[in-house]
Symmetry: C2
Subunit: 389 residues, 2 copies
């Protein structure tokens, strides 16, 4: 990875200064002061020792007369896999647990309240292979699997909420698989789960061979620290998925993802989609992507006319937060494990709603009526031709 | 305006080079070759003479076996007002016509097929004053007003389609006003019109004192050069507005706007919203903003606790195009009149739809059902609490 660009942020900070840098930051991020939050010396040392990046930024709100500030520390963790993909399934999983635990421990020391990982954080993103074995063996029970047990213990220890995206085995429904986010409360119990609503059919993302569209609606989880929801990976391209979490009162929506930089990849859209969702829905969003290259034992093709190969290309990290006003913080790097912390005042959501009136002006009745017509098999689009009168 | 930053693009091009510049362009725009299109010497000379910026970029598509390329030249024009706001209404309008005609003539020489202007391009954006006179006198008939007549002549001359955002006087319905985009065909006749669906209630944008939410649905206009639609200004914050134009088959959606850089302004969202719309709806978008400061005769306050003043702040221009894949071109400057041309292959829309399957995977039936429940007065959001079983 030595030749990979570290981040758009690093390019900017290495080349711009003075008013140019200020103006870039104002136009790009939405502010010139990035509101960096000081970290403990011990956290910085631990991050250095375990070779991961760490950074924290504040998203302050205005003082109100009738509510006290609602400050929440939210962390996202991006990481590469920790053992070769030809090692036994449980060994691969354990190696990831061991690595990520060090990051969680630092988050615990920093007083982080909620943590979200990348999509399917406890396994390689193996769907590019279209092989069923051994990858299906990574699936586990959302309520009682080893990943949930691992996190429950840390949740109780640090009074920390976890959003854990895993491959779920549904034993009560004929052993089928789901792509599921498990929400573990600060007491260590499972609050609930949400299953990925939109499954890709593009490039190497052959997920539709493994699991179907989710059947859990758009739940918002009322945690001790705020109302949260999860828009899993491909759902970030779907504005209605984001919208329904907003309608259900989400204050923070996480987008755990696995997405790549390769040709026709998503990298130039990464700053756009989770950020647009924050703007239009007036809530905080967190976009989390995995990091690194994942090489598989058998070669596979990518339906792009190119020779067979053994990896998907770079997962480019770049995880970041956006406030309900659309202002974002600098992201983590494209290349390295990391913990990014946002110190959010959740009062900001309603302040922005009051200011911008996007919900009040959205004319939902008109769209329910229009979209229900679109569903008709003989739908006639509203098209105006010249001289048609 | 001497102290204003020219553009984010100029900051980047003045400070970055080599691989840093390439990587920035790849991550930000979505490509490293900006596909600049050569302009005629005479166009460059005319633009210099009339003091406006001119640039053109291509958005190529792949060659197909069963369709020939569908190349369309689309222009957007951004401009400042041309006479002081205390001059007679008709004189102000005429001054803008005279200035903009020079830009249209150059577009005609370049073979531009479709042109869209900024929001209410033929008048100052006077709603900040909350005064009704003389601003309401800028309103005119969409079908037969002086602005439509002015453009109809040029449309026929250059076989050019115009998207013309004006203040409409509806004489057949009790003289009421609308914020309306008029679509003038390449033959010079009016194809139809669309009225702004979402009216702001924020900052100095007191438009809700002047006109109501539009009643024309989400029409797509089948022009000689392609199917086009108009999402007027504030509608860019509303993802359903963008979506319905896509459902109706729009290939290019214009977003004529009037938006400012001032505190809590929209500048850091400008690269996000029209671009997200292009991505999620797989169509081309064009975001057009007015330029410059507009000083009004009487002072007004901005509901921000600050002293009364006579202008809104800088309209920051920065008009740009995005392809259906989300790749964008460099924008026009923040400070100067300009003509930006995109040479689009409209075949790209279906290519991206086939590749990404966003429409196929959007689960519209689920959302029609969910959103219709949201409309109920006693709607209970889907919220999951710990231990609620």
């Amino acid at each position: 990875m030595e030749n990979e660009t570290v981040s758009l942020e690093s390019i900017i900070n290495n080349n711009l200064n003075g008013r140019d840098l200020e103006e870039f930051n104002r136009i790009y991020y939405g502010r010139t002061d990035n509101h960096e939050v000081k970290l403990k010396e011990s956290s910085i040392a631990a991050a250095k020792e375990a070779d991961f990046e760490i950074a924290a930024y504040a998203f302050p709100a205005k003082k109100e007369q009738t509510r006290t500030p609602r400050i929440v520390k939210v962390g996202v963790i991006q990481h590469s896999i920790a053992a070769p993909t030809d090692r036994p399934v449980n060994e691969q999983k354990k190696a990831i647990f061991d690595k990520v635990k060090k990051i969680i421990d630092v988050a615990g020391q920093e007083g982080v309240n909620i943590i979200c990982f990348q999509e399917l954080w406890n396994m390689p993103f193996a769907f590019c292979t279209r092989e069923k074995q051994p990858w299906c063996e990574f699936a586990e029970s959302a309520e009682e699997g080893p990943t949930t047990r691992f996190l429950s213990e840390l949740a109780a220890k640090y009074a920390m909420v976890f959003v854990s995206s895993i491959l779920e085995r549904d034993e009560n429904h004929s052993d089928i698989l789901w792509n599921t986010a498990v929400i573990i409360s600060d007491t260590g119990s499972v609050i609930g789960k949400h299953r990925k609503n939109h499954i890709p059919r593009v490039g190497d993302f052959n997920e539709s061979n493994y699991y179907m569209e989710g059947n859990t609606g758009h739940p918002v989880f009322a945690t001790r620290y705020g109302k949260i929801a999860v828009n899993i990976c491909f759902g970030r391209h779907h504005v209605l998925n984001w919208m329904m979490f907003g309608q259900n009162g989400a204050e923070i929506v996480f987008n755990p993802s696995a997405t790549i930089a390769a040709e026709a990849g998503s990298e130039y859209m990464w700053n756009i989609e989770a950020r647009n969702a924050a703007i239009t829905n007036c809530y905080y969003t967190a976009a989390i992507n995995r990091v690194g290259y994942e090489e598989f034992p058998n070669e596979f093709t990518s339906a792009d006319g190119k020779p067979a190969h053994k990896d998907l290309g770079l997962f480019y990290g770049s995880s970041y937060f956006t406030g309900p006003d659309g202002v974002r913080c600098p992201g983590l790097s494209r290349t390295k494990d990391g913990l990014l912390i946002a110190v959010m005042d959740l009062n900001k959501n309603r302040q922005i709603k009051d200011r911008r009136c996007y919900y009040m002006t959205q004319r939902l009745d008109m769209y329910v009526s229009s979209l229900s017509k679109v569903l008709e098999l003989d739908y006639k689009p509203q098209v105006v031709h010249e001289n048609e009168k």
